[in-house]
C-alpha cells in the first residue's frame, strides 16, 4: 500500500486528512459531473483514428483508452466542513507494439488531430525503445468482443447525492463521537467514478462505468495527564458500490466478540462513530501486552491487509520476474517453487483465489485495461501454490495461453500494467463462528482492523499492528490490550493457519491506494476472508518512551 496516501487518508498519524489528487485531476462543479463529454459512437470514431494511424505506421497491436475519471472528496473535522472538492480528468492513452516493443503516449487533446499526434508519439517511443529491447513482446490471444459495455451494479450514484447531505452525515457522525467523549474527529466521504472506453486493433470496443465509495473517519482521544493518544479509524470498508453502502441496514450488522459491532454489505457511520469514541478511550486504558507466542484470531477487517501484503504481492508475476526489482521488489515465490507443484505455501485450510468479478469488490470490472474479460482463478489450493497473477504479455512465461485479466492503469495518462486482482482467503468448509473459534483458544489475541504494516521486498518477513486487541484467556475474551504487533515469516504464518470460519463470517475489506510502479500508480483492491486462527505467532511489545 502506498504509504503517504495511507497516512493521509486513514489518519494513521492522527494528522488532518489531506486529499490525494489523482494526476491531472481538476476540481469541477458537481452539476457538470453528470454531463457526458462524448457519447460511445464519438469515442469509437476517435479510437478508430488512432487504430488506423498506428496500423499505417507499422504497429502490430494498438489499444486506445479514452477515460474520464471523477473524484469527490467531502472532508470535515469536528464541527467544521473543511473541504468540498470535485475533480475531473479527461484524456486518452494510446499503447502500441512496434518492432516487438511497447510504446505509450497520452494526451488531454481528445480530438481527431490529438488522436493522430498522440498515436505518432506512441509509435516513435516504441521505435526508439526497440533499440534496447532484448525480449520481444508476446501477447496472449484474447477474443474480440465487438461493442460491449459493463457497469458497476450500483443502486445510488454518490455523485448525484447533494453535497449538503454528505456534509450533514459526516458532521452528524462527528457529533456522535464528540458526545461520547472523543477529543478530535476527522471524517471523509471519498467517491470515485471511472468512465473508461477501450478499443483495440483486435476489434473490441468496451465501454465501462465503474463506481467506488469510501466513507472513513479517524476518532482520537488524548490523555493530557500522561501524554498518551490513540486513534480509531472507521470500521467501514472501501467498496465497489454506490452510495447505498451508507444505508447502514440492520441485516448487515454483525455482533462480534468483545461486544463490538462489525459491518458487512452496508455501513452505519453514526453508530460506528459513537462506538469508536468509547473504544478509543479503552485503547488508552488497555493493558500493555506481554511479548511472546500467541494464537492469533484475525478478524476480516484486519486480515485483508496481511493477505494483501503476504499473498497478493508475492503472487504477482511481474515481481517474480524482476520487473519491479528497483522499487517494490521481487518475490520469494520463484518459478521453480510453482513448477514443483508441491510448494507448501500454507496449511490445508488455506485456499486463496484471485478475482476480478466479485460483486461489491473494488477490483470488479467486466474487462481489464487491455480488453480481457475478467474471471476468478486459484492462487493457493489446499495450501499449495498453483498459479500467479499475469497479463497478456506475461502468461506465455508460465506456459499459459490466456491472460488472467488483471491489467490496470490509474488514469488515461499512465500506461497500464499488471495490478493485483482481489485476492481472498476462502471461508472454511465446516460450520464455525468467531465465538466458537475463540472458545478453543487458550492463550491468544483477537485483532480487529488493520494498523501498522511492513514487509520485506521479497515478502518473507512481515510485521503487522492492528487497532483493537482483545486478550483471549482460556477460551474467553479477557479485556483489551495495547502495544501489540506480530512478526512472522509468510510461509510459516500461513502454515500455522489452523481454522477459518465459515461463509457466514466472510466479508470484504480493502484499499483505494495500493502503490506500484515507477512513476507510482494507485490501484483499488479488495480482499475477502472469514475470521481465521493462526497458532503460535510471535508478538512484540511496541511501547517506547522518548
Amino acid at each position: 500500500m502506498k504509504r503517504r496516501d495511507f497516512i493521509q487518508l486513514a489518519g494513521a498519524s492522527a494528522g488532518a486528512m489531506m486529499i490525494p489528487f489523482a494526476s491531472f485531476a481538476n476540481p469541477v462543479d458537481p452539476s457538470r459531473l453528470l454531463e457526458q463529454v462524448l457519447d460511445v459512437q464519438q469515442k469509437k470514431q476517435l479510437a478508430d483514428i488512432a487504430l488506423n494511424t498506428a496500423k499505417t505506421m507499422g504497429a502490430t497491436y494498438t489499444d486506445v483508452r479514452i477515460g474520464r475519471y471523477l473524484n469527490q472528496f467531502v472532508t470535515t473535522r469536528e464541527k467544521k466542513a473543511q473541504n468540498i472538492v470535485n475533480t475531473e480528468s479527461f484524456g486518452v492513452g494510446i499503447r502500441v507494439i512496434v518492432n516487438g516493443t511497447w510504446g505509450f503516449a497520452a494526451s488531454n487533446n481528445v480530438t481527431a488531430d490529438g488522436m493522430k499526434k498522440t498515436t505518432e508519439r506512441a509509435v516513435a517511443i516504441a521505435k526508439a525503445n526497440s533499440k534496447f529491447q532484448k525480449e520481444p513482446v508476446k501477447l496472449a490471444a484474447t477474443p474480440s468482443y465487438g461493442e460491449v459495455s459493463w457497469k458497476t451494479p450500483i443502486v445510488k450514484n454518490g455523485f448525484e447525492v447533494p453535497v449538503r447531505d454528505k456534509v450533514d452525515l459526516l458532521l452528524g457522525a462527528n457529533a456522535k463521537a464528540l458526545e461520547k467523549g472523543a477529543n478530535f474527529v476527522n471524517s471523509i466521504i471519498f467517491l470515485v467514478n471511472e468512465q473508461k472506453y477501450f478499443a483495440s486493433s483486435e476489434g473490441s470496443y468496451i465501454d465501462q462505468d465503474i463506481h467506488r465509495t469510501w466513507p472513513n473517519f479517524n476518532v482520537s482521544a488524548v490523555d493530557r495527564a500522561t501524554g498518551q493518544f490513540k486513534s480509531r479509524p472507521a470500521f467501514s470498508a472501501p467498496v465497489g458500490k454506490g452510495y447505498e453502502y451508507l444505508d447502514g441496514r440492520t441485516e448487515d450488522k454483525i455482533q462480534g466478540p468483545g461486544g463490538i459491532i462489525l459491518y458487512n454489505k452496508s455501513y452505519d457511520i453514526m453508530e460506528d462513530a459513537a462506538m469508536a469514541a468509547e473504544q478509543v478511550k479503552q485503547m488508552i486504558a488497555a493493558k500493555s501486552v506481554e511479548p511472546g507466542k500467541y494464537d492469533l484470531v484475525l478478524e476480516p477487517s484486519h486480515l485483508w491487509l496481511t493477505i494483501h501484503e503476504s499473498v497478493g504481492h508475492p503472487t504477482e508475476l511481474d515481481r517474480v520476474l524482476g520487473y519491479e526489482a528497483n522499487f517494490a521488489g521481487t518475490s520469494f515465490l520463484t518459478l521453480d517453487k510453482w513448477k514443483s507443484g508441491n510448494f507448501g505455501f500454507g496449511s490445508k485450510q488455506v485456499n486463496i483465489v484471485a478475482d476480478k468479478t466479485q460483486v461489491g469488490s473494488l477490483g470488479a470490472v467486466g474487462y481489464d485495461d487491455e480488453g480481457v474479460k475478467c474471471k476468478q482463478w486459484d492462487l493457493i489450493k489446499d495450501g499449495v501454490l498453483v498459479n500467479y497473477q499475469a497479463i497478456r504479455d506475461q502468461v506465455n512465461i508460465i506456459g499459459q495461453k490466456e491472460s488472467h485479466g488483471c491489467c490496470y492503469s490509474q488514469s488515461w495518462s499512465d500506461v497500464q500494467f499488471q495490478r493485483m486482482a482481489n485476492v481472498s482467503l476462502q471461508p472454511g468448509k465446516e460450520k464455525l463462528t468467531p465465538d466458537q473459534m475463540i472458545a478453543g483458544v487458550e492463550k491468544g489475541i483477537y485483532i480487529v482492523k488493520d494498523g501498522s504494516f511492513s514487509i520485506d521486498q521479497q515478502r518473507y518477513n512481515f510485521q503487522f499492528g492492528g487497532v483493537l486487541f482483545f486478550e483471549i484467556k482460556n477460551g474467553k475474551i479477557a479485556g483489551m490490550l495495547k502495544d501489540v504487533a506480530y512478526q512472522a515469516n509468510t510461509q510459516e504464518f500461513w502454515n500455522s493457519c489452523s481454522q477459518v470460519c465459515d461463509e457466514r463470517d466472510y466479508r470484504l475489506n480493502g484499499a483505494f491506494n495500493d502503490g506500484k510502479g515507477q512513476p507510482s500508480q494507485s490501484n483499488a483492491v479488495s480482499h475477502g476472508s472469514a475470521t481465521a486462527r493462526f497458532n503460535g505467532v510471535n508478538v512484540i511489545n511496541t511501547a517506547r518512551t522518548i
Binding site: 503517504r4 517511443i125 453535497v163 493518544f229 517506547r544
Partner: protein, 444 residues
C-alpha cells in the same frame, strides 16, 4: 502550454483575476514537462513524456471558499473556471478557520532552475540509461532502474496584490543491481537540480559492487547493534521527523512533540547536542522554492539546534489563533554533519553493522515515533574497523528520536533521495549505538 515566463504568467493571472466577482480570489498556476525511462532485466520496460499544466482558482465570499481548476487556457475557459469556483463557494458551508488571503510579499529569487536540465534531449536520457545498463551487463549482473527529469514553473496571484513566480528543474535516478543467481543485491540513488552532475555509470558501479559483495550473506542474531547508516537510510528515518513538525498537532496533544501534562516540547532538548536540523531555500546544494503554496516567504529556519526543538510549523489559521509567526513547514531539510567519509566511520568501528538502505518504513506508534522497516540491498558486518562479511537483512523497530540520542558520530553531508517520499535531502551518514534489530529476513 507548459513553461511560461514570469511576464507571461503574470499577464495570464491578471486576466483570470479580472473575471472575479468574489470578495477575494487567489489563483495558482503550475506547468511541468517531465520524462522518464524505466528498465528491468537489463532492458528498457517503459518510458514516457508528459506535459501538464493546471490553473487553480480559489474564490471566497466571507468565510465560504470554493476551489475549481482547469487545464484549458482560452478566455472562455478562464472565465468559466472563475465562475465555477464562485458557485462552489456559494454552496459551501462557512468555514470558521478560513483566513483571508495574504497581501503583497517580498520573495528572493530561487536557485532551483538549471538550464542544462531543462534542455535535456531524448538522446542524453537514453545515453544515461545505456551507460547504467552497460555497467551491469559487463559485470554479468542484472539491472533495474528508473531515470526521471522534470522542468516546471509555478506562479500565484491574488486579489490583495500578492504575486509570486518560480521555475525549477530536477532529476532523480535510482538503480538496483542483482547478481544473476539472485544471491546479491545493491542499490544507488541520486538526485540533482542539474542533470550534468548525474553520473549513472558511477552510481551503477556502486550498486554493482554492493550486489557482488553481498552474495552469500551470513545470519547473525537480531539485537541491539552499533550501526552506520548511509545517507539513503538516514533519509527514510529522519523525514518522519521533518513531516511531523506541525504545531497544531503538538498543541492538541497528538504528536511526539506533545508534552505529558499539556503543552509542547518546543524548547526541550530531545536529541544529542550534535544534532542540528534546518531548512534553507538558498542552500546551493539543495535549493528549494522561496515561497509556500499559500504565498508565505520561505526562509532559513532552524528546526533542531544542539538537540533542542527550536521551531514548529504553523498553518496561518493556527498561528493567528496562537499569536505567533506563521512559519511554513520545511520544503527541503538539511542535517549538519562531520568531516569523515563512510570508510573512515567504518575504520573507527570495533563491532557494528553497515546499513546501505532501509525499506518499507512505517509508523508503529506515533507517540514515540517508533518506526519499523527492513535493511535491503547490502548489509555488512564490521569488526575491528573493517567490513568482514555480508549479513542477512534485519527488520528494525526504532524511533529516530531515540536513535539521535544514541549518536556516536556524524559523517560528511551529501545530497540523497528518500525511496519512500522521493524527496531530496542533505544528510550525513550517521553512526549510532543500540539500534534495535528485532528479527531476520531471508529477502535478498
Amino acid at each position: 502550454m507548459a513553461i511560461l515566463t514570469k511576464d507571461q504568467a503574470q499577464a495570464l493571472l491578471k486576466k483570470v483575476l479580472s473575471y472575479s466577482k468574489a470578495d477575494e480570489c487567489e489563483v495558482n498556476l503550475t506547468g511541468t514537462d517531465s520524462a522518464n525511462i524505466r528498465y528491468a532485466r537489463n532492458s528498457v520496460s517503459t518510458s514516457g513524456k508528459i506535459s501538464q499544466s493546471q490553473l487553480v482558482v480559489s474564490s471566497a465570499y466571507g468565510k465560504k471558499l470554493g476551489v475549481a481548476t482547469i487545464n484549458e487556457f482560452d478566455d472562455a475557459s478562464l472565465e468559466k473556471v472563475v465562475r465555477r469556483s464562485e458557485e462552489l463557494a456559494k454552496l459551501a458551508p462557512e468555514n470558521p478557520e478560513y483566513v483571508s488571503f495574504l497581501g503583497p510579499q517580498t520573495f528572493a529569487e530561487a536557485h532551483t532552475y538549471v538550464e542544462s536540465t531543462a534542455a535535456i534531449t531524448p538522446k542524453l536520457r537514453s545515453d544515461l540509461v545505456a551507460q547504467s545498463l552497460q555497467v551491469a551487463r559487463d559485470a554479468k549482473a542484472v539491472a533495474a532502474g528508473f531515470l526521471e527529469d522534470n522542468t516546471g514553473f509555478s506562479a500565484m496571484m491574488n486579489s490583495k496584490g500578492l504575486f509570486a513566480y518560480n521555475t525549477s528543474t530536477n532529476t532523480n535516478f535510482s538503480v538496483t543491481v542483482r547478481t544473476e543467481d539472485g544471491k546479491g543485491s545493491g542499490y544507488a540513488t541520486r538526485g540533482y537540480n542539474d542533470i550534468t552532475k548525474l553520473d549513472t555509470r558511477k552510481a551503477t558501479q556502486i550498486a554493482t559492487e554492493k550486489a557482488v559483495k553481498s552474495v552469500n550473506a551470513k545470519a547473525i542474531e537480531p539485537g541491539k547493534y552499533t550501526v552506520i547508516l548511509e545517507p539513503a537510510a538516514v533519509a527514510v528515518l529522519l523525514e518522519n521527523i521533518f513531516f511531523r513538525l506541525d504545531a497544531r498537532q503538538a498543541d492538541e496533544g497528538r504528536s511526539f512533540l506533545s508534552k505529558a501534562g499539556g503543552g509542547t516540547r518546543l524548547g526541550e532538548k530531545l536529541m544529542d547536542e550534535r544534532v542540528n536540523i534546518y531548512s534553507d531555500p538558498f542552500n546551493t546544494d539543495l535549493p528549494s522554492n522561496t515561497w509556500s503554496g499559500d504565498g508565505r516567504p520561505q526562509e532559513k529556519i532552524a528546526w533542531v539546534e544542539k538537540g533542542v526543538i527550536k521551531n514548529l510549523s504553523y498553518s496561518r489559521y493556527w498561528a493567528e489563533k496562537k499569536g505567533v509567526k506563521a512559519i511554513p513547514g520545511p520544503e527541503a531539510a538539511i542535517m549538519e554533519g562531520g568531516t569523515k567519509s563512510i570508510e573512515e566511520l567504518i575504520a573507527g568501528t570495533k563491532k557494528g553493522v553497515l546499513v546501505t538502505r532501509l525499506w518499507y518504513i512505517r509508523d508503529v506508534d506515533p507517540q514515540s515515533l517508533l518506526l519499523t522497516g527492513l535493511t535491503r540491498d547490502g548489509t555488512f558486518y564490521i569488526e575491528n574497523g573493517k567490513i568482514q562479511y555480508p549479513i542477512k537483512n534485519f527488520r528494525f523497530n526504532e524511533s529516530p528520536i531515540i536513535m539521535l540520542n544514541n549518536l556516536e558520530e556524524l559523517g560528511k553531508v551529501e545530497r540523497t533521495v528518500s525511496v519512500e517520499s522521493n524527496n531530496n535531502y542533505l544528510l550525513p551518514p550517521i553512526k549510532v549505538r543500540d539500534f534495535t534489530f528485532s528479527s531476520l529476513s531471508d529477502a535478498v
